[in-house]
Amino acid sequence: MQVNVTVNGTVFTREVEPRLLLIHFLRDELGLTGSHWGCDTSNCGACVVWLDDVPVKSCTVLTAMADGRRVRTVEDLDRGGQLDPVQQGFAECHGLQCGFCTPGMMMTARWLLDHNPDPSAEQVREAISGQVCRCTGYENIVRSVLWAAKHEGGGT
């Protein structure tokens, strides 16, 4: 089937199998390998991207379901080469080690701060509770998001 998916502001028209998962479309068809897959069962959140402005686990979404919709991935997080405060926060607060969960975590963090510019640590923990990090024990991810909240120069 043919799909038209707007990814990071660009419309992509592709012929795909209906069963193609969105994460594989992004990674294998479009070469956007910043988003990862980690569990296959919607538990780990390494694959989180935005679908029509809402974070979603893209290993559990068919590309067909994204037809006519907008997708935003980690590759679109910076603003004209300038790192998003969330990205800066993760680098500043050692919010990552292996870097595998990081893109998904940052996409959720960006969404959280867009909707709650001044979250508590507890709210950050709640927001990322569907995403697994095996390296940080979450401590520095929470600090990174709080750092970003503090250093926001206006939302996206």
Binding site: P18, R19, T60, L62, M65, S129, G130
Partner: protein
């Protein structure tokens, strides 16, 4: 690599179109809503439908929350996140916010739908227990019209519902029973899980209506503990007209547990689940009663 097997894909343009497509593909077609129950099953190839009818575009017809005819009406395509965020829902049914707070995780709740969760019919589904406690009903639509099925008759077994091939769950209805003058209502949901985001080891929802110091009516829903129809009917019967006392609630918990047939699994052994049926029924009732007595919290 866990990927689904081949299937035909159809995008429904309306509810009637969806029903037409379901009729065309027959037995082996499945409705695709948020997909957060179905797609993982398809990736594991535990489900291999021949066709998917995607209803995600039907937000005008199926995504709404409104009060009508003394009922809260929830369109089947409402997401878990929408139910959790709705003030209207919280105003009438605290139990639903309690439950949604502990269903899956925030990201899954963004796309997972109420209708999808109910139709997946997992015996551990929290919403099935919550709707059973509230004695709601489901609207099931076919090409020949729709029928209203009590929530407690919606599930016919594990992973099975009354929704026949060619039919579509369109709406959930929850009666807003302010009851006789002076009757006060409260509800609550309590869940024990091995970890945040996991299915319940056991969970209980309670709705209670007080008339003075007497329990005018009560609804008790149970998930994951082998309760018939996700409900604890004998316990409800006992509570009806009973004094609003801790002792009554304790007895209701015992009755709820006695009528469960828990199946052991990795979440817990049968005796523990039976214990939870009692313990959590009591806890849910206690909170529901407290809420009924303190409507100041914004809950009628």
């Amino acid at each position: 690599m866990q990927v689904p097997a081949h299937f035909e894909y159809e995008k429904a343009a309306s509810v009637s179109h969806a029903l037409l497509l379901l009729a065309r593909y027959g037995q082996d077609a499945r409705i695709l809503a948020g997909g957060h129950s179905l797609i993982p099953m398809m990736k594991l190839r535990l489900a291999q439908p021949e066709a998917l009818v995607d209803i995600n575009g039907l937000t005008d017809e199926l995504r709404y929350l409104r009060v009508s005819g003394g009922e809260l009406r929830i369109g089947a395509l409402v997401t878990h996140a929408q139910l959790l965020e709705s003030e209207l829902v919280g105003q009438h049914f605290a139990i639903l916010h309690d439950a949604e707070q502990v269903i899956a995780d925030p990201i899954v709740r963004n796309w997972g739908t109420i209708g999808g969760s109910l139709c997946q019919a997992d015996p551990s589904e929290d919403l099935s227990a919550a709707f059973a406690a509230l004695k709601g009903s489901m609207v099931v639509q076919g090409r020949d019209g729709s029928r209203v099925v009590p929530a407690r008759e919606f599930h016919t077994g594990p992973y099975e519902t009354v929704v026949a091939p060619g039919e579509l769950l369109t709406e959930i209805r929850l009666p807003i029973r302010t009851g006789a003058a002076g009757a006060r209502h409260g509800s609550a949901y309590v869940k024990v899980a091995r970890r945040v985001g996991d299915w319940p080891v056991g969970a209980a929802g309670a709705a209670i209506w007080l008339s003075g110091d007497t329990i005018a009516d009560a609804g008790i829903g149970l998930a994951a503990v082998g309760a018939r129809n996700f409900a604890a009917a004998p316990a409800e019967e006992f509570l009806r007209g009973a004094p609003a006392s801790t002792q009554s609630l304790r007895r209701a918990g015992q009755l709820a547990a006695e009528h469960c047939q828990p199946v052991p699994d990795q979440r817990g052994p049968a005796d523990y689940k039976r214990h939870l049926a009692s313990e959590l029924t009591v806890r849910a009732l206690v909170t529901a009663m407290r809420r009924a007595r303190t409507p100041a919290a914004g809950r009628p």
